[in-house]
């Protein structure tokens, strides 16, 4: 009898690389966006938001599969 082994989760730097690759394809400049990553029950949530005080707008928002790195959902905010 063998015990089930949970699949290893992707490290957050790999998750960020996946998100960044898509974000750089869509957004011309990411330098003024702050990034937050958090692991939730449905995957890694990677959120970009304007970092300059007073600037309103948005950035990309991803939910990424924590095991295989598939982008489950993405929204491009502006």
């Amino acid at each position: 009898m063998s015990a089930a082994v949970a699949a290893p989760l992707l490290p957050c730097d790999e998750v960020l690389r996946i998100a960044q690759a898509d974000a750089q394809r869509v957004y011309r400049d990411l330098t003024n966006l702050a990034i937050t990553l958090r692991l939730e029950s449905d995957g890694w949530h990677v959120e970009y938001n304007p970092s300059r005080p007073g600037w309103q707008g948005g950035g990309p928002y991803y939910v990424i599969d924590p095991v295989d790195g598939t982008i489950i959902s993405k929204t491009y905010y502006q």
Binding site: R28, N32, P50, G54, W55, G57
Partner: protein
Amino acid sequence: MTAAPTATELLSHPVVRAAIDSAWADSKADDPAARHEEGGWIYLELASGVITVERAATGEQQDIDLFNPPTRAGCVIVGKFHTHPNPSDKGWKPGPSTSDVQYDEMHGVPDLIRSDQGVHVSGPESRRGGLSGPPGYPE
């Protein structure tokens, strides 16, 4: 005049409509390499009820600074506007972002957001507290 105009009233005002249309044209929505946000503020002159607008500095592809509006003598700010020029059919959300909603509530005036899906309204229905208060954003 005692009541601040509502977002619906601002949207039907010819000066505001023209300003939003002009901002949209300047946003270069059809040019992927140059599209960017434009916007500005909507003023009401207290003595006459006349509506005027002032444009803000050009924004970036996905954000704009509407934080420090210039004041005008005898006027209060009753709204603001900006554009979301990126295409909704490419996955861009045309309506307000989280930070739009946060800033619009903080600023206390309706924000009229022009996108390729039309105009979205964020923030209060009209200037918070009516026409009293400071000439810039309400307290």
